[in-house]
Symmetry: C2
Subunit: 402 residues, 2 copies
Amino acid sequence: MAKIADIGPDSVRFVCMWKKDDICKMAVLAFNIESESGKARAGNIQTDHGTIQTPIFMPVGTVGSVKAVTQQQLKLDVQAQIILGNTYHLYLRPGTEVLEAAGGLHQFMGWDRPILTDSGGYQVFSLAANRKIKEEGVIFQSHIDGSKHLFSPESVMDIQRSIGADIIMAFDECPPYPSDHNYAKKSMELTHRWLTRCFDRLAETPDKYGYTQNLFPIVQGSTFKDLRTASCEFIASKNAVGNAIGGLSVGEPIEMMYEFTDLCCSILPANKPRYLMGVGTPWNLLECIDLGIDMFDCVMPTRNGRNGMLFTTQGVINIRNKKWEKDFSPIDIGLPSEPSQYYSKAYMRHLFVAGEILGLQLASIHNLSFYLWLVGEARKHILQNTFTAFKQQMLPILQQRL
Amino acid sequence: MAKIADIGPDSVRFVCMWKKDDICKMAVLAFNIESESGKARAGNIQTDHGTIQTPIFMPVGTVGSVKAVTQQQLKLDVQAQIILGNTYHLYLRPGTEVLEAAGGLHQFMGWDRPILTDSGGYQVFSLAANRKIKEEGVIFQSHIDGSKHLFSPESVMDIQRSIGADIIMAFDECPPYPSDHNYAKKSMELTHRWLTRCFDRLAETPDKYGYTQNLFPIVQGSTFKDLRTASCEFIASKNAVGNAIGGLSVGEPIEMMYEFTDLCCSILPANKPRYLMGVGTPWNLLECIDLGIDMFDCVMPTRNGRNGMLFTTQGVINIRNKKWEKDFSPIDIGLPSEPSQYYSKAYMRHLFVAGEILGLQLASIHNLSFYLWLVGEARKHILQNTFTAFKQQMLPILQQRL
C-alpha cells in the first residue's frame, strides 16, 4: 500500500512498504530527526522495506544469516529493524546468480525489513589473500578456494544491486592502523575517486527488484585530522542520503576513536544519518550516540556471545565462570526479552561448558536483544531530553564485570 | 490444579499438572489405549508433567538440551510432548549437585512437560573408557576427563532421582552385536538381577521433587529367540507401568530388528506402553508402530539433520546436493510447521555449504517437526482404523531419495 507523505524540504514522496507480491513505487531513503539532546539525535529512516528508528544497532548477518539466530527470533526476540549483509562473503557464497534467481537477499533469507550491505572493502583487505590494489580496483584471491577475483567500484555496485540491500556502501580502501600520513592520504584520495565511480555506476544502472537502493559514502583519512576533515568535506559535497565513518575502531586508542568521531560529526551534514562502522561495545555506543552517531554495526554481540561473553543491563558476564554454576537467576533480570528472562545463568554456563549449540544461540539472541534494548532506551531518553543523565548512569553499570 | 480422574481399573487417582509453585499430589504413570488398528495402538500416557499421546517420538536432549533447538521451538514448532535426557552425560555435566540445587532437570532447562532419562547403560558401554563390569556395577572412566566412576543399579536410580525425570530407565548391560549365546545369556541374567535391585532401590527412596518418577525395565537377550522370550517374561512379571525393548538397532539386519520387536510385543503386556529404544528412521517408526510399539527415541532426526540429511513428507533430501542450489521451494511443502514452510531448500543448502549454525538449527527443527507430525498422523489413522493403508502409502514416499 502506497501513500504520499510530505517528509521534508527535499520532495513529496511515496512511502511504500515492500510486499512480496505487491511491489509498489520506489522512494529514496529519507531521514527525519524527531528530537535532539545535546549532540544526540532521535530520528527515523524511511526505506522501501520499512522504517528504522534511530539511534539503531544493526545485527551482522554476514553471509545471509545472523549467526545462530533465526529470522523469527530476530524479529520477535531481538526486535531487529535492519540487518547487515556482507558483499565479499555473499559474492563468494551463495553468489549473485543464486541471489538474482531468488529475487534478492530479502527473499532468499526471508527478511522483509531493511538490509544494509557493507561493500566488502574491509574483507578484501583483511581476509583475502594476495591482494593487489590498482586504480581499477583490487585483485584478490578468495579465502575459501583461492580463486581470483577483481573488485572495482563498478563491480561492487553491480554485486550490491544483485544482493538487493536497501542501503549499499561505497567501495573504499581501508588502510591499516597505523598508517603514515603519505599512505593514508593516497589511500583516501583513491577512495574518493572510487566513490565518484560508485555514484556514476549506480546512476547508470537500475534498481533490480522494484525498490530503491541507496548509496552511503564512507569517510576515511586514518587518524590524521587534516585528512579526516578533507574526507568529510568531500563526502559531504556528494549530498548522499546518508554518510558513514569508516576506518575507526581498528586498533587505535579509544579516546582517539571518540575524538575522530566527534570531528567527523562536526563536519558531516546534520540532516543526514551518520553511520559509524564496526562499533562497538555498549559503552562505545552510548558515547558515540552522544557525539551524533545514528547507526552502528558490530560483530561483538554475536561473536563475543558465542564465546561466552554476555552484555547485560547489570554488567558484563563471562558465563563460563564457576561463580555462575548454581546461580539460577535469569540471564538478565533487567532485560524485557523472553529468552533472557526464561533461561538461567547456571543453565547457560552448563551449555557453554558442555559445548552445546543452544548456548551459542541463546547468547547471541540475548546480546542482540540487549543491544537493541540499549539503543531503544537511548532513543527514549533523547526524546525526553534526559540522554546525558541516562548515559552517565548507565556507563559504570554496563562496564562492570560481574 | 488437581482433579480426581477415574482412569481405569487400577485406581482412582489424582491427575495433576505440575506447576512451578504449586506441586500437587503425585500419581503413578497410567496408560490408556483409545483405539487399535491391527497391532497398532493409539493411546495416552498420563504423567505428573502432563499427558503424552501415543504413538510418540521423543527428541533426544542428551545433556539437558535438544541440540540446536530452544525449548520454545520444541514446544511451538516441533510440538514435542516428552523429551529424553541421558543419565551418563547429565551425571558428568552439570552433575547431580547442580541439578538438585536447581530443583531437577525440568526446572534447570525450563521444560515443564514430561522427561524420560535413559539410565546411561548404553553410554557406559559405548563411550566410557576402561570399563570393568562386575556384579556390583560398572567401573568406568569419564570420556571427558578420565575420572573414575562406579555405576550400579542403586547409584543410577539415585542419580535419576536427582535428575527428576518422570520416566526413568533400568540400569542394564548392553551386549555388543553380535554376541554369542553364552555371553548374551550371562549378560541378560545380570541385567535381570540388576533390574530387581533397581526396583528395590526405587522403593526405598522418595521422589525428590514432589511428583512421581516411574521405572521402565528393559528387555535384552540379543538376537536369540529363547533369550528374548525369557527376558520379556521376566520383565513382564515385574508388572511395571511401562516396558522397554533395548539392544536392538545395534547393527543387526533390519528384518531381524522387526522380527524381534514383533516377538517382544507378543509377550510384553498389552495394557502397558511399549518403548523401543534407539529407533529409528521414519519408515522404521511406521513398521514398528504396526508391530505394537508406542514410544520411540532416536538421535537420527537431530544428528542426521546437523549433517544435512532432511526427512520430509516427500522423501529424503541431502541438502548439500547441488540440485537444490536454486530450488526456492519450501523445505517441505507437506509439513505444517512454520520453519519448514518459511525457509527454502536453496537457502538451507547455502547455510550448510557456508557452515552456518542456522543450518544446523533449522535442519534439527524441521526433522523433529517431521517426526512428530509422522507419529501424529499414524495416531490419527489408528483412531480411524486406516493405519495399514496409511503405512503402505507412506513407506515408498518417505524412503525415496529426492
